[in-house]
């Protein structure tokens, strides 16, 4: 009871890195709170999956194994978590801020009326004094997250409702094995008791998941796009420029989130770090998490409609303008000057 729970994502039988990172953070929080760490794995053909998670210091693994539970769909996974949380009353529940966690987390929090903090960058235990209502809270989870497009960092707490739920992006927390010999218990969930037939109204008809293959790490020239690129069609302009000048296309996280580019092209703190001889930043504002991955570029060109964009502080050339106007001109001028 009142333990720390981590929902573990599965892709092709493997527990996702983000989940292992959260187990590491969860272990630390459980130690601070003097409680146990429990993991939940939901999917199909999960035999032996406990061996993947226990070394991270998991005291109990809950396994729901049924062929209808993979690939992930929202409702059955929600039903299992909601009922399990009602029974086990965790004080903290963590999941990845991934396409799955961000689909599942809000659904579960809405059903349980528990608060959910998105995209936390730091999670620590602390106390809180509510001066207005003269109430003291011990050992709350401080959920620290950026908001307002990265312009502010907020500390969010969840004083009265349980579990305190949070999502965290991949790569934000460290992944660390406690001991290969760490022993926890395994609990098999009787799936029939947790899901309803109506939970299977959504059917996955087709699915194409890509294994990482893009190699931007070693590219000499990178044309990187941000949220300011605005659309997939505009992103094609970046691809065109990259093709003519012999570079690769990179992206900010906001551009990846928006679906303009795939995850393996993400540059920055939670993407790859690059050191090209030329970095062309298109419609990227230049938040610290992005610049951490490109600041060692030999030369930077920043194209942005905002003449005060923070990225300009890293640039050797600043072009103030709309990428839809600038990129075609660059392509044209390159072609004319190399004829």
């Amino acid at each position: 009871m009142n333990n720390v729970f981590v929902y573990c994502e599965i892709e092709e039988g493997q527990v996702a890195d983000v989940s292992l990172e959260l187990l590491t953070k969860g272990r630390k929080l459980a130690d601070d709170l003097k409680c146990e760490l429990e993991a939940i794995v939901i999917g199909h053909e999960l035999k032996g999956v406990e061996k993947q998670v226990m070394p991270f210091g998991v005291d109990k693994v809950w396994i729901a194994d049924d062929k209808r539970l993979y690939p992930y769909t929202t409702l059955p996974h929600t039903s299992i978590l909601v009922k399990l949380f009602e029974e086990e009353k965790p004080q903290i529940a963590l999941m990845g801020a991934t396409s799955i966690g961000r689909d599942l987390g809000p659904r579960v929090s809405s059903a349980l009326h528990s608060g959910l903090t998105a995209d936390c960058t730091s999670l620590v235990i602390g106390d809180h004094e509510d001066k207005k209502n003269k109430k003291e809270y011990k050992d709350l989870l401080y959920q620290i997250r950026p908001a307002f497009g990265g312009n502010i960092v907020a500390t969010i707490i969840n004083p009265d409702c349980r579990p305190q739920m949070a999502t965290v992006r991949e790569g934000v927390m460290k992944k660390e094995i406690v001991s290969d010999a760490y022993k926890g218990k395994v609990k098999n969930i009787d799936v029939e008791k947790y899901v309803k037939p109506e939970d299977f109204v959504i059917k996955v008809i087709e699915r194409h998941m890509e294994k990482s293959k893009v190699n931007i790490k070693n590219a000499g020239i990178i044309v990187a796009g941000g949220y300011g690129v605005g659309s997939k069609a505009n992103f094609d302009l970046l691809t065109e420029l990259a093709e003519v000048i012999g570079g690769e296309v990179g992206a900010s996280r906001a551009a990846v989130d928006a679906g303009f580019a795939s995850h393996e092209r993400q540059i920055g703190q939670t993407g790859v770090t690059v050191r090209p001889k030329l970095y062309i930043a298109c419609g990227i504002s230049g938040q610290i998490q992005h610049t951490a991955g490109m600041e060692e570029s030999a030369m930077v060109i920043a194209i942005n409609t905002d003449k005060n964009a923070p990225i300009n502080a890293f640039a050797d050339y600043v072009i103030t303008g709309d990428i839809a106007e600038v990129l075609p001109k660059m392509i044209k001028q390159y072609k004319e000057n190399t004829k």
């Binding site: 991934t98 608060g115 497009g149 679906g259 890293f314």
Partner: protein, 291 residues
């Protein structure tokens, strides 16, 4: 009945992508007055999906629903200019301080009052709060299934919806039953521009709170043309449990906020002209950076 009943959830947001020096107040809070208020970008993608369904299925009605201050009626007008049929502004002090859960609760109570709905389409995420939580939370409160990260609502026929989703590491096509909540990504097609005919028709569309200082002529115009009245609902127009609203109904509390600052370095400034781009390319080729 012919056609679908679609509600698009849209939020008016400060344009956090163009944050200038005066965007933060000295005390570290956001100076909303210094930021232009815009239609949340992904909600425009959501609107476009709704309008495409309207183009495809005759008799479809698209209603915009937004919760916010009186000024948020601006985005309803923007939606009308682009082809939405009508809109509702949900506005009341009782909603102030809502976190995503209290926001979803107020929206879901309103949706329940709006009668039969086939599809609720939201943006994936708002650019200010940045949580992507409201869509799924609304779906749960209504007991509807959800399809998030949609890039294309392929079809909505015979009670079934087929949606193409774009995920971090791939694409997925899924099928589900109406009523349903769909949240739309920015990778979905951009919203169509304003239509001059609709701009003419709706430029005087106003919500009640925008009519406070209206002249008699203006009030007369609105009583003669009912379509110019943007529906405005308060907490009294929906059935709610007061404990679940606003600050009281919000499990998450903001304990503290810090401001993030940047400093600048010298750079060569270029204009987006052919002449400057030509110079740039010559320089880059000359010093063997490219070519």
């Amino acid at each position: 009945m012919k056609g679908l009943k679609i509600v698009v959830l849209a939020k008016q947001v400060p344009d956090t992508r163009n944050v200038g020096k005066d965007a933060m107040k000295a005390d570290g809070t956001v100076n909303r007055a210094a930021l232009p208020a815009i239609f949340n970008p992904e909600d425009l993608n959501a609107l476009e999906q709704a309008l495409r369904l309207k183009d495809k299925y005759e008799g479809t009605e698209v209603t915009l629903l937004t919760m916010g201050p009186g000024r948020a009626a601006e985005i309803i007008r923007e939606g009308l200019y682009r082809g939405a049929d009508n809109g509702i502004l949900l506005s009341d002090r009782a909603f102030a301080g809502s976190d995503t859960l209290a926001t979803s609760y107020a929206l879901s109570c309103t949706l329940k009052k709006m009668g039969k709905i086939d599809i609720i389409i939201a943006g994936r995420q708002a650019i200010d709060g940045d949580t992507a939580q409201v869509g799924p939370q609304v779906a749960e409160k209504l007991g509807f299934p959800q399809i998030t990260y949609a890039e294309d609502i392929v079809s909505a026929e015979k009670g079934n919806v087929v949606v193409k989703r774009r995920l971090e590491r791939g694409v997925e096509t899924v099928e589900g039953k109406m009523p349903m909540v769909v949240t739309v990504n920015a990778s979905a097609p951009e919203c169509r521009p304003r239509n001059a005919k609709f701009v003419m028709k709706y430029k005087h569309a106003r919500a009640v709170s925008e009519m406070q200082n209206a002249t008699e002529d203006y009030i007369a115009l609105h009583s003669n043309r009912p379509y110019l009245n943007i529906g405005e609902w308060s907490v009294n127009d929906i059935d709610t449990n007061a404990e679940e609203l606003g600050l009281t109904g919000s499990p998450t509390k903001v304990k503290s906020i810090e401001n993030v600052v940047f400093q600048a370095k010298e750079a060569k400034v270029l204009e987006p002209t052919d002449a400057d781009m030509g110079e740039l390319m010559k320089e880059l080729i000359a010093n063997h950076t490219i070519g």
